[in-house]
């Protein structure tokens, strides 16, 4: 069973998105040692594709700290990942709800964060 430490995870400063899933069919984003639906103690920790659909978006003009102020305004999005979990990230300012997106990773005040762009360009 993967503990997830071998996977690229932006919350650890690496260019990747990690999620978890359980044999019961549940998939979720916030890491924990058990399935929040059925309670099993052996969730799988998995690398996500970074593909998904924009569920919601807000252009944030008011950064919470001095360090982040030069980045404002920045688009905060909720993305429904194709693996069945939802996550918060940054996104291209032209994104619209319902658009198919792909993640890359950008620096945001010294932190690497997921940044979604329109998917179709290949």
């Amino acid at each position: 069973m993967s503990t997830g430490h071998d996977l690229a995870d932006w919350t650890r400063g690496e260019a990747g998105i990690v999620y978890q899933r359980c044999g019961c069919g549940a998939a979720w984003y916030f890491r924990r040692a058990f399935c929040p639906r059925c309670g099993r103690l052996d969730p799988q920790t998995v690398q996500a594709s970074g593909r998904g659909t924009v569920y919601a978006s807000s252009l944030n003009h008011r950064a919470p700290t001095e360090t982040l102020r030069p980045y404002a305004p920045y688009l905060i999005v909720l993305v429904d990942a194709e693996e069945g979990f939802r996550m918060m990230a940054h996104g291209d300012r032209t994104l619209r709800i319902g658009e198919r997106v792909q993640a890359r990773f950008v620096d945001f005040g010294g932190t690497l964060v997921p940044y979604f762009e329109k998917a179709e360009k290949k």
Binding site: T11, L59, R62, P64, L78, M88, V113
Partner: protein
């Protein structure tokens, strides 16, 4: 059965030099005076929390300061839902026999007791420390996300949302304690500074100093009694990323429980006190509860439906959006106003003779839901 037998409310806005304990004391003294009770008459105490005075034991800290020796006391933390949750806890303490007369009190110098950046950062912590806060998300951004989805699914425009800010300001104009009383128009709201789209400055409640309190008793003491008829809760998530839906929250479920316990129906409600941290919050709560059809809250506000002389008077003190928001006391001001309305003491703001009020508050990002049904004596 329990009764709210007295209420106290300070003006909201700037109270420079006044601490959390000062503001709590002001409100508590006012509530006891309203109930014609002394400190010795109170055997229970329920407090909330204060971001400017984080403390492990706020209730006993306050009890010692104010001069109470309760036989039942605790503090509670449910974000914006705390005020109504404290009312429910007091009601349950009465029903169980744990206490006979409880003082419920909150206060905070949230505006002048800290810098604006600290306030914004503290509040942002309702977001996930690992998965949300590092993205530079703020409370307005969480609600901006909710608003974007809600407007996408329902026929709601920014001008519709603005109507609720205009209404709250019109109500606040007649309350001397309100933080903002200058009338505003839909155009003013639309032209106000962008905060987190689609939320603009006038879609957002202010940060305030203030305090609020009430006394809950086993008997209908005195002339100023309002019965707590029903209470309900629902808690669906903490973080907006983990919310199952951004258009169906726990509000309707919570209200259903409160109405069932009260043995009454939504159509019997003739005064509404609904949490309004943002115009989108108020819109969603009104529409999910069923006090307005989906996509229609703004239009109903414009048509006067929620005005003092309308079919369903709403937040006649001006709500969080214009009376102000000092944290736990924010929603308690809604309760104080409902009490004044049900006891016909709202003066120039009196909205006819309401008999049955529905109060609903939420904490987090529409995460925790608390509903109360109050009835005139």
């Amino acid at each position: 059965m329990s009764w709210i037998v007295g209420v106290g409310l300070t003006p909201y806005g700037k109270h420079p030099g006044r601490s959390t304990l000062d503001l709590m004391s002001d409100a508590a003294a006012a509530a006891l005076a309203d109930a014609a009770l002394g400190r010795e008459d109170v055997d229970g105490l329920i407090c909330g929390y204060s971001t400017t005075l984080p403390h492990l034991m706020l209730s006993t800290l306050f009890a010692e300061h104010f001069g109470l020796r309760p036989t039942y006391a605790h503090a509670m933390q449910l974000g914006g839902a705390t005020g109504f949750a404290m009312a429910m806890a007091a009601h349950l303490a009465i029903e169980s026999g744990a206490a006979r007369r409880l003082l419920v009190v909150a206060g905070e110098n949230r505006l002048t007791g800290q810098s604006r950046d600290v306030a914004v950062q503290t509040l942002a912590q309702v977001g996930h420390a690992v998965y949300e806060v590092p993205l530079g998300a703020t409370i307005p951004a969480y609600y901006g996300l909710v608003a974007s989805r809600y407007m996408h699914e329902h026929d709601t425009s920014e001008a519709d949302l603005a109507e609720l800010a205009v209404l709250m300001r019109a109500h606040a104009a007649t309350h001397p304690g309100a933080q903002f009383r200058e009338p505003i128009t839909v155009a003013d709201v639309l032209a106000s500074k962008p905060v987190a789209s689609p939320m603009k400055l006038l879609d957002c409640c202010p940060v305030s100093d203030g305090g609020a309190a009430f006394v809950v008793a086993r008997e209908p003491l005195g002339e100023r009694c309002v019965k707590i008829r029903g209470t309900g809760q629902a808690h669906t998530h903490q973080h907006v990323s983990a919310a199952a839906s951004l258009t169906e929250f726990g509000a309707a479920a919570s209200v259903r429980v409160a109405l069932a316990r009260a043995g009454t129906m939504l159509s019997d409600i003739d005064y509404a006190a609904i949490y309004d941290s943002f115009t989108i919050t108020l819109t969603i709560l009104l529409e999910e509860i069923g006090l307005a059809p989906r996509g229609r809250a703004g239009r109903l506000a414009r048509e006067g439906y929620f005005s003092r002389d309308g079919r369903l008077p709403l937040n006649t003190h001006g709500g969080l959006l214009s009376y102000g928001h000092c944290g736990v006391g924010g929603a308690m001001a809604h309760l104080v106003e409902a009490h004044l309305q049900l006891t016909r003491r709202a003066g120039a703001r009196q909205a006819g003779q309401p008999r049955l009020a529905l109060l609903h508050g939420d904490g987090g990002v529409l995460s925790s839901h608390l509903s109360l049904v109050l009835e005139a004596a």
